[in-house]
């Protein structure tokens, strides 16, 4: 028993030493790391902003931004919520797809499509600072 504990302790210490050696401590990150992560996020927001104004997302030239300047009146902070006309509790992405299919007369996107994530990133970013309020009508 004692022998096993010793071996386990050695393994943990050894693994920790290895990780230190490779700079991979999970609980430490730098300004530079955060800058990079924010940059990655903002590049997707920028892509979402471009899609938001794009006449080619649907088939009739209508863009999201025609009705939703700065993604206003999309209320991403209120999802998931009950949408009477969709017959249940839905996610923000379901509502984006509804708009793609109806006012934009286009096809819906897969929920994990990169364009979908970009649209959601942009709309949510424009709503930053607003408290989450899931379910609110």
């Amino acid at each position: 028993m004692a022998k096993k504990t010793v071996w386990a302790a050695c393994a943990v210490v050894g693994a920790a030493l290895l990780l230190v050696g490779y700079g991979l401590q999970a609980d430490e990150f730098t300004d530079k790391d955060e800058e990079r992560w924010q940059g990655e996020f903002m590049s997707v927001v920028t892509e979402g902003r471009a899609l938001w104004g794009s006449p080619t997302l649907g088939t009739n030239g209508v863009a999201c931004g025609q009705c939703h300047p700065n993604a206003a009146n999309t209320h991403p902070e209120t999802y998931p919520k009950f949408q009477q006309q969709l017959g249940g509790v839905v996610a923000f992405r379901d509502m984006i797809n509804w708009c793609l299919m109806n006012p934009l007369e286009g096809k819906k996107l897969a929920l994990d499509d990169k364009q979908m994530i970009a649209l959601e990133a942009y709309a949510t970013y424009e709503r930053r600072g607003v408290a989450l309020d899931p379910g609110k009508h």
């Binding site: 009739n60 030239g61 209508v62 300047p69 700065n70 206003a72 009146n73 708009c99 600072g129």
Partner: protein, 358 residues
């Protein structure tokens, strides 16, 4: 509310149910005078944004809004003296869009006046629009009221003439409501000089009604709910006893009172816009007295759009909003408080949940 108005409204509701389509946005204005024989009405249709896809295809949604407004306006009884179209007939100012829109407007059974919106203007600077509809700014008199039509969507010469490599790009840059590459609207020095001269021959007691596309007041610059030289234009209007400014562009109910000037916005036939307060990242200056339109329900294609019927009483405006999927609203000048007020929802306690925007 007069009996005539109730009859007219009932008739409209009947006509709408016969048509069996979703509601259209309509605004009417009533101007009334001490001598009832001088009362008259006119209709106001605005912001149709007719959008060309290609060939003979146009965005059906926006087409339906204008077709419905025209059809309903033609059913008004008693008949309005004229119709005003408040700008943004087209989405990108092209000949197919302006022609298609003009063809729909031609079905109106009344004298129709038009003004320029930025979506009509920034492709060819209003050249083709002028061939169809006439001068960019003008005035006329009707039954003792002086009407002025402004082009309020001009901007800096450098932006208009020097900044963009093509006319198409200039149009697209101005067409995006929230585009930071856009530029603030203005009436401009030349037109203000014309306005001063035009008004110099008008008695100060004459009711004055001004039509513009953008608000001649400053609400939110980021979406051009704004005219940069609004104060200078207001200064030319303030000496008159009864002044009303009616504007489009904002696709929503707004009203305000600044000195002698009452302001009314009209609905779009195409689509509604959020109130600026719905954009969490910027401050705006919505007139405090405005009771907002109901929040739009996207599942009703024509919700939060409409047209107006206007009754000109005592030289002031009664604005009836004919809303396609909603209860009609009336915003009328209240002589006791000296400002436009909603006849049903003005008091805080009378407002309803859908009028809360966030």
């Amino acid at each position: 509310m007069t009996k005539t108005n109730l009859n007219r409204r009932d008739f409209l509701k009947g006509a709408a149910s016969v048509a069996a389509v979703s509601a259209i946005p309509l605004s009417t204005v009533e101007l009334a005078f001490a001598d009832p024989s001088q009362n008259f009405t006119f209709a106001y249709i605005s912001d149709s944004h007719i959008q060309h896809i290609k060939g003979s295809r146009f965005v059906n949604n926006w087409d339906r809004g204008l077709i419905r407004a025209v059809a309903e306006t033609n059913l008004l009884q008693p008949k309005p003296d004229f119709v005003m179209f408040g700008g943004d007939l087209a989405q990108l100012g092209t000949k197919p869009e302006l022609d298609h829109g003009a063809e729909m407007l031609a079905k109106l059974n009344y004298k129709t006046y038009c003004l320029l919106g930025e979506h009509d203007y920034y492709l060819d600077l209003g050249e083709y629009w002028s061939e169809l509809f006439g001068p960019h700014w003008y005035s006329f008199d009707h039954k003792g009221v002086h009407f002025v039509v402004l082009n309020s969507i001009l901007t800096f010469d450098e932006w208009t003439f020097d900044r963009w490599p093509t006319a198409e790009q200039r149009m697209l840059e101005m067409a995006g409501l929230d585009n930071p590459n856009g530029s603030p609207f203005m009436v401009g020095e030349k037109q203000r000089a014309w306005l001063a001269k035009d008004l110099s021959g008008v008695a100060k007691g004459t009711p004055l009604v001004v039509f513009s596309h953008s608000p001649i007041q400053k609400i939110y610059k980021g979406w051009n709910f704004w005219t940069d030289d609004a104060e200078q234009v207001q200064a030319l209007l303030q000496p008159f006893d009864d002044v009303t400014v009616i504007y489009g562009h904002v696709h929503q109910i707004q009203y305000n009172q600044i000195g002698n000037i009452s302001f009314h916005a009209v609905m779009a036939t195409a689509w509604p816009w959020p109130y600026p307060r719905a954009y969490a990242q910027a401050e705006s200056h919505m007139p405090k007295i405005t009771v907002p339109m109901n929040r739009a329900d996207p599942f009703f294609e024509r919700d939060a759009t409409g047209w107006q019927f206007i009754n000109l009483k005592t030289g002031r405006v009664d604005m009836e909003y004919n809303l396609n999927n909603n209860t009609n609203r009336t915003v009328a000048y209240n002589p006791e408080t000296g400002r436009p007020e909603d006849t049903k929802y003005q008091a805080e306690d009378d407002r309803i949940n859908p009028q809360i925007h966030y």
